[in-house]
């Protein structure tokens, strides 16, 4: 059984996106939410690189991926900071406790 490189890539991309989305659907701990987001975004990044290679625009795909890395780092930092603050204020990391805007 032999697979070419793009299809391996594609399976990894779909796997990462699937795991990330599934985690976002089920996880309720704020820190785990940030981790799930990271997994999801890694899948998207890989997809950029893959599509860049498939369409022959390797540079474009890779530079978009780099941009996502920068943005994604900021998301992680801000998200984790917020998680710390939420824990201090509400005494819990469960996102079910964060619906005060609704009431």
């Amino acid at each position: 059984m032999s697979m070419n490189v793009p299809s391996v890539f594609l399976i990894v991309v779909i796997g990462l996106l699937g795991v990330g989305l599934y985690a976002l659907l089920t996880v309720r701990n704020l820190i785990k939410v940030v981790v799930a987001l990271q997994i999801l975004v890694k899948g998207a990044m890989l997809a950029f690189v893959l599509v860049g290679r498939l369409t022959g625009q390797v540079n474009l795909g890779q530079s978009l991926a780099l941009t996502v890395i920068v943005a994604d780092t900021i998301v992680a930092v801000v998200g984790l900071t917020l998680a710390v603050q939420v824990r201090r204020k509400f005494g819990s990391l469960d996102i079910k406790d964060l619906t005060t805007l609704k009431r």
């Binding site: 976002l24 659907l25 089920t26 996880v27 996102i95 619906t99 609704k102």
Partner: protein, 582 residues
């Protein structure tokens, strides 16, 4: 030059809003001074803009392909309304210095007032329908925020919410029009539509025309949306003057006047416009007769006078409608600010608790009576000339029964105006406590308005020139001299109209002897006090909207997992559609 002035007259109030808000509520004096300075500066910019009015696009802001360029045209109609918005608006701001003295949260107050004025200027000067919609909605939001300014008073909040919900019907009509226009012509340019209305299919044009009529009726509190304006009386009085004279309600009449050349050939449209104006003018006038709340009487009179303007647009004489708008802005701002001085002094809005205030408030009495005479349409005040122009247009271009009913409306106007003046300033004094005349800043705002009510009719000639074909190529208004226009007014029908007005006055003079007639019409009074049933309908609409939004809040779970599920489902649907489509 024109571009700079347009930017200034929109930008100065908006900049002022930001600055006054940022100064902070601990510096009240600076806030008052800054608000007056910024609004006056905008007024000056708008007045100078009068000089460079023209039909060419004066300012273009490119914003990318989707929305078309944001274009502004300083044509006669726009410039004239911009001047009204900024000048009357700045007088209301000056009045506020006394009226709002010692109130809390002045930053919020002045910021919204200035934001309101700037948005109104933008609304009348832009020639991009989408941008017009944006400004339109900003004015709706500002009016909501200002009507509900005393947000610890449930009545004020309810009035604000009602105004917002009812005027949103108009917003939907306008948005529908904008979307239709861009989907058929591919551009948001208003003037392109005015130039060749036949370029879009007749059916689409009809939908546009009636959609805009709904928009204008909701904004200008016309039948059947007329009940939001009286409830808006919970606002501080300078705000009422601002909404009634300078901004908000003029927008509806402006919309009809602006698009009249495009819609005049749509079957039944002009008749519908005339009918809306007629029904509103009569209904509101009767409601004003039975109301005992000073500000509500004024509110009903605004609704009624707006009915006259809408009717005039329907007859095709846009000039008469806009000239009455000018007169009305001046005398209604005068009346509202005068009423504000009275209310500020007496501490109640119920006219039954006033009476005999004339001796203690001589200045206010004089200016208020000038405004009242203009509202009643007595010569030689500005309201007389413009109302007669409208009636004359009605005689020439509408069915005779409509003309007669409008005449009756003028008589009722005279009746309720004198009833109001009498109940407030004459008769037995009832109010107790310290009654004082208008304060200094109040006088500064009232005096020019009183002078204006006496003299703006002299501007008829220049006014027809600025609305003429040089700046408004599609409206077919001919520039005439003041004397020509005034000469047209002085004719036999005018004498008849004056007779009807005199009859209205006589009816109030001889009210005791007419007691039997009053009793016979008691059912009408009761129906009018209940807004002819429309109050209930409008209240139902407001309640229904609020109930629906409460119900729909279930969909906002606030839970991340559910929201992600929504995203995933939408993604799946999108992929399915793409797969099936391909």
């Amino acid at each position: 030059m024109a571009a700079t002035l347009i930017l200034l007259s929109i930008g100065l109030p908006w900049l002022g809003a930001l600055v006054v808000w940022m100064v902070g509520d601990r510096h009240e004096k600076i806030q008052h001074a800054l608000a007056v300075a910024f609004s006056l500066a905008a007024g000056v910019a708008a007045v100078i803009l009068l000089g460079s009015a023209g039909k060419e696009t004066a300012l273009t802001i490119p914003v990318g392909g989707v929305f078309g360029d944001f274009t502004f045209v300083a044509d006669g109609l726009g410039v004239f309304l911009a001047v009204i918005a900024t000048v009357i608006g700045s007088l209301a701001v000056i009045f506020s210095v006394d009226y709002m003295h010692g109130e809390h949260q002045l930053g919020r107050y002045y910021a919204f007032v200035l934001f309101f004025i700037g948005a109104m200027v933008g609304l009348v000067l832009t020639s991009n329908l989408l941008l017009m919609f944006v400004f339109w909605e900003i004015t709706a939001l500002c009016s909501y925020a200002l009507i509900a300014f005393h947000n610890d008073d449930p009545k004020a909040v309810a009035g604000g919410v009602k105004a917002l919900i009812i005027t949103q019907f108009g917003g939907v009509g306008l948005l529908l029009g904008a979307v239709l226009l861009v989907s058929t012509t591919g551009s948001y340019d208003i003037n392109a539509l005015l130039a060749s209305p036949s370029s879009i299919p007749a059916g689409t044009l009809a939908v546009l025309a009636y959609g805009f009529l709904v928009a204008a009726a909701a904004k200008s509190a016309q039948f059947p949306f007329q009940t939001w304006l009286p409830d808006a009386m919970e606002a501080p009085t300078p705000i009422s003057a601002l909404i009634h004279a300078a901004t908000m309600v003029n927008a509806g009449v402006y919309l009809l006047a602006r698009f009249f050349p495009a819609f005049k050939d749509v079957p039944g449209w002009t008749e519908a416009v005339m009918l809306v104006g007629l029904v509103t003018a009569l209904m509101a006038a009767i409601m004003a007769v039975v109301s005992n709340d000073l500000k509500r009487v004024l509110a009903y009179s605004t609704v009624s006078q707006l009915g006259y303007m809408v009717y005039a647009v329907g007859t095709g004489v846009v000039f008469a409608s806009q000239f009455h708008l000018l007169s009305h802005s001046v005398f209604k701002a005068l009346l509202f600010l005068g009423a504000g001085a009275v209310i500020h002094s007496v501490g109640t809005r119920d006219m039954r608790e006033m009476g005999g205030l004339g001796k203690k408030m001589p200045f206010t009495r004089v200016v208020f009576i000038i405004g009242a005479l203009a509202l009643a349409g007595l010569p030689i005040l500005n309201g007389f000339w413009s109302k007669e122009l409208i009636l004359e247009a009605g005689l020439k271009h509408s069915p005779i029964w409509m003309y007669i009913l409008m005449l009756v409306g003028a008589g009722i106007t005279a009746f309720y105006t004198f009833r109001m003046v009498w109940m407030v300033f004459y008769g037995k004094p009832k109010a107790e406590g310290h009654i004082h005349d208008a304060g200094k800043a109040m006088k500064v705002a009232l005096a020019p308005l009183a002078l204006g009510a006496l003299t703006t009719w002299l501007l008829a000639g220049p006014f027809s020139k600025i609305l003429g074909t040089e700046t408004l190529p599609y409206h077919n208004i001919h520039a005439e001299s003041t004397w020509e226009i005034l000469g047209e007014v002085i004719s036999l029908p005018t004498l008849v109209a004056l007779g009807v007005v005199a009859l209205g006055l006589l009816a109030w003079w001889q009210r005791d002897k007419l007691g039997g007639l009053g009793k016979a019409l008691g059912w009408l009074g009761k129906a009018a006090a209940a807004s002819f049933g429309f109050e209930a309908i409008n209240r139902g609409v407001v309640k229904g909207t609020q109930g629906a939004s409460n119900g729909l809040s279930v969909t906002q779970t606030g839970l991340l997992n559910w929201n992600v599920l929504g995203i995933v489902v939408a993604l799946v649907i999108l992929f399915a559609v793409l797969a099936l489509g391909a």
